[in-house]
């Protein structure tokens, strides 16, 4: 849209103010949270001098550290598997036609639109039944834990990864792959040397999204977790419901920091995408 349509007078002022207010609205809570994480006061939200006690509390808390390590372990496995499956799905949808393709396409969108709560319920019931069946057939006694959480996270992440990689694939010039085979590349080599480099930014973006969604997830994890496998968000969520403490604040800021790092990384992936 050309900038010649900028409104004049009071409308212009109003728009500018609205713009700034929105940004303040977005960042103020985060800024305040960071601020209060350093506040020496048991009451979160009241300033009481600078302290690092609450971060110390976090490092001292084995529960918190345990939850963090669980989250990271799960996120890594989830990301790897989601990226592989999601990329394969994207390739299949963008470069091939096959029977049942439309159904597959629609199916891939469901996990994106489905509400957290419904998915949590679905998987809770599923694992219940699944473990019963395994017990009945093989006498195998499984419990919810690492794998139930990981499997659940992968279930929705495949879709997110595939959407991002698909966008990248469809924007790619298909002549490139033709040129590659014209120049004596086998199908696999054409993929490895031409297609893959082109979609790497998309894969990276998908990986970051998968990692973020896995690290962030609360409801689904809460429903399918088992003893000893509390993740950080679930842990924090549990704490919040019992009451607001400074420890939660410091953990929150740490989580914030982790998110920020991932965001910055994804921005670099975006830059790489535009450059190449």
């Amino acid at each position: 849209m050309s900038t010649a349509v900028e409104p004049r007078g009071w409308a212009k002022a109003a728009l500018h103010i609205n713009g700034w207010l929105v940004y303040i609205f977005f960042y103020a809570p985060i800024a305040l949270l960071v601020l209060f994480s350093f506040s020496d006061n048991r009451n979160v939200g009241i300033w009481g001098g600078f302290t690092l006690d609450w971060y110390q509390d976090f490092f001292d808390s084995s529960n918190a550290r345990g939850a963090l390590s669980n989250s990271v372990k799960i996120a890594i496995v989830v990301t790897i598997i989601s990226v592989i499956l999601g990329t394969m799905a994207a390739l299949a949808l963008e470069r091939f036609t096959f029977k049942g393709k439309k159904v597959f396409d629609a199916l891939l969108y469901l996990p994106i639109i489905i509400p957290d709560v419904t998915m949590a319920v679905m998987l809770l019931l599923f694992f219940g039944e699944f473990f019963d069946v395994l017990d009945m057939l093989f006498g195998l006694q499984l419990r919810k834990g690492f794998w139930s959480i990981t499997i659940s996270h992968i279930a929705f992440n495949i879709s997110f990864v595939s959407v991002i990689v698909r966008a990248r694939l469809s924007g790619m010039n298909t002549n490139l792959e033709e040129a590659a085979v014209d120049l004596y590349a086998s199908r696999w080599k054409a993929f490895r040397h031409v297609t893959l480099p082109q979609i790497v930014p998309g894969i990276a973006g998908g990986a970051l999204l998968a990692m973020t969604l896995s690290l962030d997830d609360v409801v689904i994890t809460q429903f399918v977790t088992g003893p000893g496998w509390t993740t950080l968000p679930v842990y924090v969520f549990g704490l919040i419901r019992k009451g607001v403490t400074p420890l939660i604040n410091s953990i929150s800021v740490i989580m914030l920091l982790a998110s920020m790092i991932l965001v910055v990384l994804s921005l670099f992936a975006e830059r790489a995408r535009r450059g190449g």
């Binding site: 014209d182 120049l183 004596y184 480099p197």
Partner: protein, 353 residues
């Protein structure tokens, strides 16, 4: 001598749509061969079948006698220059050019030296470490050429290679390509919808329309003796006068006028007489001319082209274009002037649909 590329009864169907209809074609070694036609005529599909990017539905396709119709593209000694060059954006010019060699397993040293040789041949030395996005359209095209030719293909295929260039650059590249082909020596098969381009560059042209091959001949032949009405109309500009064959030397126009025109069609065949605008002459209306090779009319419009004038001449039943070179001393005619348009009976052709 074995043809470089030979197509026999090649047909390609996409579902119910017949893109290429029973084409027989032989491209000689060392030829600059053009495939010409409007969009959708099947020329690009045919090219892709030679490259191996499509498989024919039916027919035989051989390269220097070897049947390759069903062979994968990476197993044919044929390389393609794509319409938008399809340069690999993540690789440098040098890596692009050497890609085919690398895929064939040629060792690094030889790949590098052969690639550099090619880069010099297309006059891009010094730019080999650039990425394609840092190069102009003309330079990208040369990279695409180098990338294809470095593999010493038996035939080079070019898909509308000059389409993306502006006019001046295009004209330069036309001459360069022609020279390149003579230097390299192999057949160049290129596809274009620009008939002027085909006439300029090609040794022989194949005109296609709606999947069918209409005529394969030298530019002169195609221009002077088009095989049918479509070819006559598509190549260059022409005046088409409808009529019926009366005998081997006469055609009777729809308004009853008899015109002297040689043809081999049976009497009664519906034909058109094709008179190129530059083959017709305008003179003051007179009765000296041969009535079988002239018509009387009035000047209606004059279009000034700088190097020529095109007169739109109106007759009671149609209009003609006559092209008059803008030479000093040539007679000019004002609109409204009654004039006679005449021509040499050898300089026209008779075409059927």
């Amino acid at each position: 001598m074995t043809a470089a590329v030979e197509l026999k009864a090649i047909t390609k169907k996409f579902g119910d749509v017949v893109a290429v209809d029973n084409v027989d074609l032989a491209i000689e070694d060392g030829e600059f061969f053009a495939m010409l036609g409007p969009s959708g005529c099947g020329k690009t599909t045919t090219l892709r079948m030679i490259a191996g990017l499509e498989f024919p539905t039916q027919g035989s396709l051989s390269i220097f006698g070897e049947e390759v119709g069903t062979l994968a593209p990476n197993k044919r000694s044929v390389n393609t220059v794509f319409q938008n060059y399809a340069l690999f954006p993540h690789l440098t010019v040098l890596e692009n050019v050497g890609f085919g060699l690398k895929m064939q397993g040629v060792d690094k040293g030889e790949t590098r030296s052969r690639s550099m040789e090619m880069i010099e041949l297309v006059q891009l030395e010094g730019l080999e470490d650039r990425k394609p996005s840092q190069m102009s359209g003309g330079q990208q095209q040369r990279v695409a050429l180098a990338r294809a030719l470095v593999n010493q293909p038996k035939v080079l295929l070019l898909d509308e290679p000059l389409g993306a260039l502006d006019l001046k650059l295009r004209q330069e590249m036309q001459l360069e390509l022609k020279k390149l082909q003579r230097d390299v020596g192999i057949s160049f098969v290129f596809v274009t919808h620009d008939q002027e381009e085909a006439l300029t560059m090609a040794d022989r042209i194949a005109v296609m329309h709606e999947g069918k091959l209409l005529q394969v001949a030298s530019p002169e032949e195609i221009y002077e003796t088009p095989a049918n009405r479509f070819v006559a109309d598509f190549i260059g500009r022409t005046n088409l006068l409808e009529g019926t064959v009366s005998d081997s030397e006469t055609v009777i126009l729809t308004n009853g006028t008899s015109i002297r025109a040689h043809s081999n069609f049976a009497a009664g065949t519906r034909v058109s007489i094709s008179i190129r605008p530059e083959r017709a002459k305008i003179t003051q209306q007179n009765d000296d001319g041969n009535p079988l090779s002239s018509v009387n009319g009035t000047v209606e419009t004059i279009t000034y082209l700088g190097n020529a004038r095109v007169y739109g001449v109106k007759f009671t039943w149609m209009s003609l274009e006559v092209r008059e070179e803008n030479r000093p001393g040539v007679q000019l005619y004002e609109p409204g002037t009654p004039i006679t348009v005449s021509w040499d009976h050898d300089a026209i052709s008779v075409v059927a649909d």
